[in-house]
């Protein structure tokens, strides 16, 4: 999942990257509108987060040009401007959401999920897999238990669940998780994995180790079930 982030404030740009990368998002950083347009054309990201006030080409113009070429890709404005007129202009240009500063990581991720969910809702049909009572929609970054509201997942969480699903019944070591889910570009400490698993369990489990089982001294496992395949 690739996100394009454009903001003329380098600290904001760096902070956004620091928040989203650990969640498994691949981020493209642009310090102005011109760079944002170039990166968008080159990489065709899955979602754009744009500041409005940027030197040269502003966020509105970037949105206008992106929308002219692609009516589907989700666009979010992240702005300190929050007057009604700013929001209205942004939404009329085809933006999916308008996130007012200040915001925290969790709010931002929730808004990103919301935008992705609406787009995937429009696209319909995508590949899914199940882990016991949980049905996972990887493209939409969400999971669903039969009787509850959708559960938002980060790309990292989706890849963890995907790995557990693909190797059902196997005890997977921390290194396997780090290799597969984090890759070579990032060297997290093994504690990072534990934190992710803890967060993930909080989201998807109702009883301790309902889905993800801890194998002491090794790592984690999903026992698997006939209905899961």
């Amino acid at each position: 999942m690739t996100l394009l982030l454009a903001d003329d404030d380098p600290i904001t740009l760096d902070s956004l990257a620091a928040c989203l990368q650990p969640e498994g998002f691949r981020v493209l950083l642009a310090k102005d509108g011109t760079e944002a347009l170039a990166l968008w054309q080159k990489h065709q990201p899955d979602l754009l987060c744009l500041d409005i006030m940027m030197p040269g080409v502003d966020g509105y113009e970037v949105c206008r040009r992106v929308r002219a070429a692609d009516a589907q890709v989700p666009v979010l404005f992240l702005s300190a401007k929050s007057e009604e007129i700013d929001v209205v202009v942004g939404l009329r240009l085809g933006a999916d959401d308008f996130v007012r500063k200040p915001f925290g990581k969790h709010e931002l991720i929730a808004r990103i999920h919301g935008a992705l969910r609406r787009v995937s809702g429009a696209k319909k049909a995508s590949a899914t897999f199940t882990l016991g009572p949980l049905r996972v929609f990887p493209a939409e970054l969400r999971a669903q238990r039969d009787d509850t509201a959708p559960i938002d997942l980060t790309p990292r969480e989706v890849s963890i669940l995907q790995l557990l699903h693909d190797r059902a019944g196997q005890a997977l070591s921390r290194d396997v998780f780090l290799d597969v889910c984090w890759g070579l570009d990032y060297m997290p400490e093994s504690r990072t994995l534990d934190q992710h698993i803890a967060k993930l369990r909080k989201k998807i489990e109702r009883e301790p180790e309902e889905i993800i089982e801890t194998i002491r001294g090794v790592g984690y496992r999903w026992r698997g079930s006939a209905s899961a395949r």
Partner: protein, 509 residues
Amino acid sequence: MQLPRLTLALLLALAVCITAGGVLVARREVETRLERDRISHRALANSLQSEVRRLEELYQSHLERTGATLTQIWRDSNTPRQLAETLTGIQRVSWLYWRSASPETHLSIGFPPATPLPEPTLEKEHTGLPRPRVLLDAKMLFRDAAGESSGWIDEPGKPLLFYAQKLGTTVVLTLDRAAVRDAMTSRLRGWKDLQTMLTGPDVFRTETGDVLHTAGTLPATPPDVIMPIVSRFGSWQLASWDQREIRAAYHMPTLAGSMALGVLVALGGLSLSAQQRRAAKIAAQRVSFVNRVSHELRTPMTNILLNLDVIEENVPQAGAGRFSLIREEAGRLSRLIENVLTFSRKEEGRLKLQNAPCRPVEVVNRVLSQFEPALARRGISITRTHDGPQTEISLDADALSQITANLLSNVEKYAPEAPATLHTVQNDHDFILTVTDNGPGIAEPDAQRVFEPFERLDDRITAGVSGTGLGLSIARDLATRMGGTLVLRSATAGACFELKVPVEATHHE
């Protein structure tokens, strides 16, 4: 900027009214009379009087001749009647005798009048039937009994009489004064030359007002000069008017006073309007400054919050202790900035909400999760419950988030060391959020006051609780703009705030 303009317009209008009123009060119309030539006027009156006198004399000469003739023909009634009828105005012919046994004789001419005419008589005592009489003086009538005499008997209280005496027989003619006057009036009316003699505005009329001749346009005011034309039978009037000029004059002290007052009011209006404009500008600048500063605070605030999240996930036990305090304070600062910005937008009339699809339960939970550490630190155990579906609806998530945060912030400030509940209900019509605490509660008299901006309950300020006094005011305003309500429900203990907003389903589900 509407008020200064309105003030200026009102005071300028008042100034114009005062000045105009002063001009009206000070204005006086002065009439000047230009006297006409009185000599020619008098000459005309004399001419008229001469004409009337000539007619009178002509009539008298006829009477003398007729009277003298009648003294001779008293035995027959037809001849005297025919003779008398040739002259206008004779109503009765009476024959009276000097020292004679012949009875007094009376002959009525023409139609008998409505009231019986008194009979001229020399008899001091009544004979026959009682009737109205005019007692005449025999010595006067027969002072020249051997010769001839004639003359008028025109005395107050008696009809107009003319007598002619010849050799001891007197004929007394009872005359109708009005008939003779009318005949003369008719003669004067037909006098064409008179019309050319009037220059105008003049009128020649009878004493009862019948106009015989007129010249010029007659004013409605009484005439300036009236010259009477008098005869025994009646009178006429030659009336004339002088020329008049009307010009406006002003009472200078009144005029100057009203103008000075008008100028003062206008200057006062200009000054007051300028002051109001200046005050409005200063207020707008103040709001704008607060707006700009708060706006500029948002980007660094975002950076702080994002980095706190990053640190929290990478530093062991970051979620507890002093780090948690930093997060809470950052959250508090964010809410403060948001409240100040919302308030200044409201003051500038630019606060409008933008509905978008969202799950209100998630919005509320997200806010609650931000408050959980702070609530736990103050010994507040909050119970979260929800009834109904958790589907997506269309509303302004930021507004809902701000209202929830302001309500929870109140719980954190005012109801420590006690349990609290946050209950939400979603149904087909409404989304209802109820926050109940077990703090000191809010007394009935203060129930409305807590929703006023900058209002804070006194004992709580002295108790050391911080705040701007904007939270509940903004929360209620936002609730109203969402088409809903925010009310303080009566509770047995503590405070219970209920937000109720209408639900508009989206088609994303």
